[in-house]
C-alpha cells in the first residue's frame, strides 16, 4: 500500500462524501425546519438524474442537463410539498413515513412509465472526461475532481445562504419556533415550500452529477437515501454543518474501509478468509461508525438537544 494509493483513496472518499452531503443537506433541512421525515428524498434524486439524462440526450449539453435536473427536482419537490407533504406536518412520524413511502412507489412506477424499464444513458461531457495527472503522479478522473469542487462550492453557498441572508434567518427561526415567526408576519407555508424545493433541487443536482458516472435507473435513489440517513444521524438531525462533517466522515470511512480492511486482515489471516471477513466488515463500517457516534453523542455530532 503506497502513500499515492492512500491519497487517491482519500480523494475518492471526499468525492463520495461531497455527494452524500448534497443529499443529506436537503434531508436534514427538511427535518430541521418542518420536522418531517421524507423517505421520498431519494426519488427526487432519481428525478434529477432522469431529467438530466433526457435533456442531455435531446440537446447534447451537459450544463443544460444540470440546469434541467435542478429545475425538475425543485418543481417535483414543490408539487409534492403543496399536494401531499403539507398535510403531514401535524401528523406523527409514522404517517409521514407511510405517505412518503407511497410517494417512492408512485415516483418509481411513474418514471418507469415515462422512460421505460431500461437504464438511461448519461455520460460525462468530453471536456470533463478522462484522467488528469495530479502532483505526485496520480492519475485521477477529472470529472471526480470537478464533483468535489462543485460540492464544496455548493456547501459554501448553502452556509452563506443560511448564515448570512434574510431567507436563512427565516429558516433558522422556523427551526427554533415556528409559531413565533408566523406571529411576526412571515408566511410560513411559503417558507416551507421554498425549503422543500431547495432540498429537492440539491438532491436532483446530486442525482444528475452522479448519474453521469453511474447508472440512471429506476430505484437508484434508495441506496443513497439510506446512506444520507446515516449521515444526518451521525451529524445530528437538523444541522447542516453536521450533515457536512457527517457526509465526509461516512464517505471516507466507507471508501477507506473498502480499500484497506481486506488487506489489513490479510496481514494475519489466510488471503481468502481475509477477503471475506474484510469485505463483510467494510460493508458494516459506516454503521459501526454510526453506532459509535451515537454511543457517545446520542444526538449526533452537532445535534441540538
Amino acid at each position: 500500500m503506497s502513500s499515492l494509493l492512500l491519497f487517491e483513496q482519500v480523494l475518492n472518499g471526499l468525492q463520495l462524501g461531497v455527494m452524500l452531503f448534497l443529499m443529506a443537506a436537503g434531508l436534514t433541512l427538511i427535518f430541521g425546519v418542518m420536522g418531517l421525515i421524507n423517505l421520498a428524498h431519494g426519488s427526487l434524486y432519481m428525478v434529477g438524474a432522469f431529467a438530466a439524462a433526457a435533456v442531455a440526450g435531446a440537446t447534447g449539453s451537459f450544463l443544460l442537463a444540470l440546469a434541467a435536473s435542478l429545475a425538475a427536482a425543485a418543481a417535483a419537490g414543490a408539487v409534492i410539498e403543496v399536494g401531499v407533504i403539507r398535510r403531514l406536518y401535524d401528523r406523527d412520524h409514522l404517517d409521514q413515513v407511510l405517505a412518503t413511502f407511497a410517494l417512492i412507489l408512485i415516483f418509481s412506477e411513474g418514471t418507469r412509465w415515462i422512460f421505460g424499464s431500461f437504464p438511461l444513458f448519461l455520460d460525462v461531457p468530453d471536456y470533463l472526461s478522462g484522467p488528469v495527472t495530479l502532483p505526485g503522479g496520480i492519475q485521477y478522473p477529472l470529472y471526480r475532481l470537478v464533483i468535489i469542487l462543485a460540492g464544496l462550492v455548493i456547501a459554501a453557498g448553502l452556509f452563506l445562504l443560511i448564515g448570512r441572508t434574510r431567507i436563512g434567518i427565516q429558516i433558522r427561526a422556523g427551526e427554533a419556533d415556528r409559531e413565533m415567526i408566523a406571529a411576526l408576519g412571515i408566511d410560513i407555508t411559503r417558507l416551507y415550500t421554498l425549503v422543500f424545493a431547495l432540498g429537492a433541487a440539491l438532491a436532483g443536482l446530486a442525482g444528475a452529477l452522479v448519474g453521469a458516472i453511474q447508472s440512471v435507473q429506476v430505484g437508484m435513489g434508495e441506496p443513497v437515501l439510506i446512506l444520507a440517513f446515516v449521515v444526518i444521524v451521525i451529524g445530528g438531525i437538523g444541522s447542516v454543518k453536521g450533515a457536512f462533517i457527517g457526509a465526509l466522515l461516512v464517505g471516507l470511512t466507507d471508501t477507506l474501509g473498502r480499500s484497506f480492511l481486506p488487506g489489513l486482515f490479510g496481514l494475519f489471516m489466510e488471503p481468502s478468509a481475509a477477503t471475506t471477513v474484510g469485505s463483510a466488515l467494510a460493508s458494516m463500517a459506516i454503521y459501526i461508525l454510526m453506532a459509535g457516534v451515537l454511543l457517545f453523542r446520542p444526538k449526533g455530532l452537532f445535534g441540538v438537544a
Binding site: L5, D123, G130, S272
Partner: protein, 382 residues
Amino acid sequence: MKIVKSISTAAVAAALALGAASAQAEGVKVGMITTLSGGGAGLGIDARDGFMLAVKQAGDAGIEVIIEDDQRKPDIAVQLADKMIQSDKVDVLTGIIWSNLAMAVVPAAVAQGKFYLSVNAAPSALAGKGCNPNYFSVAYQNDNLHEAAGAYLANAGYKKPFILAPNYPAGKDSLTGFKRFYTGELAGEVYTKLGQTDYAAEIAQIRASGADSVFFFLPGGMGISFMKQYADSGVDLPVVGPAFSFDQGILGAVGEAALGVKNTSQWSKDIDNAANKGFVETFQAEYGRLPSLYAAQGFDTANLLISALAKADISDADAFRAALKAAEFDSVRGDFSFAPNNHPIQDIYVREVIKEGDVITNKIVGVAIEDRSNAYVDECKM
C-alpha cells in the same frame, strides 16, 4: 376458379385438423412469474416477450399463459406461485429471473408435481443436491458464463487478472466458477457491497495491483456504474465479464465505455442458424428493439415446452418429462441438449462489444468452452 376454391378450402380444413391434432385434446396452462416492475423489470419484460413471441408463432398450440409480476420480491413470488398452483391450476411454472426468488418458489412447486422451466435463474443448489426431475433450466447453470470467462483468460494467455464480484451468494459462485477454469495467479480478489454504485476505491486498487486484466461480475446497474467509471479512470487493462453486464438492454446505458470489452454468453444475435436469424428478425419486427439474452432464453423455453406438448400430453407426467428431456426443438443457440441434472449442454461463446452503425451491440469472436455441461452433475441424484 371453382376448383381452386375447393382445393383451398380443403387445405384450410386439413390445416385446421392438423392444428387441432397437434394441440392435443386439452391444452396446457402456464404460470409465468417474472419481474415486470421496479429496477430489474427490463430482464423480466424481455424474458416474457421472448416467451410470448414463441407462443404466438406456434399459433394455436393450446397454451394458455398467466403472467404475474413478482416485483423482484421472494415473498410475492411465493404468493403468486401458490395462487397459480391452487386456484389457476397451472401445469407448468416459469419466468423467474433471480436466483433467490427461484430458491423460494421452485422446490415447493416441483414437490407438488408441477413442472418448472427456468428462463434464467439456475442456482447451484438446484443443480446439485437439490435437483429435481421436474425442474429444467433452459438458460444455463449459473456458473457457466463465469467459467467461460476464466477459460477465455487462461487460453488468451493472461497471467494476472484482478477479479471482483458483489458479496452475496451469486457473487461468490461467480468467482468460484471463474477460478474453476482459471487456476493461475490473481492480482487481487475483491467482494464489493451488493448494490454499490461507486467503484472508485476498487478501480484505484486495480490500478495499484499490477494486474494484466480485469474480470468482473456486477449485474444490473452495478455493472453500468463500474464500466462508466472504469472507462473514465484511465486504467486501460482488458476487461472480461459475463454477458449480463453487456447485454442489449444495458449496452445503451453504458455507451461507448463498453466498446472492445469481451464478454461470455451462450447466446448472441449473430449465432449462425436459421432459428436464431428468424428469432432476431421477428423479435425486432414485433417489439421494435433488438432481443437480449433474456429474450432468447424466454423464446427457447417456450419452444422447448411446445416441442414437448407436440409429443406428449401434460396429464401423462412421465411421458411429458421424457419429451422435455429430449429437447427436440430448434434452439436459437444451435446445438442444445440436457445433462443428466436437467441443465443445458451447450457452447459458451466469447463476444466483443462493437458499434454497428449507431447501435452498440455484440459480435461473436470465438468459443470459450465447447459443449459445456456443469460442475454439479455428479451431486445430483434423481
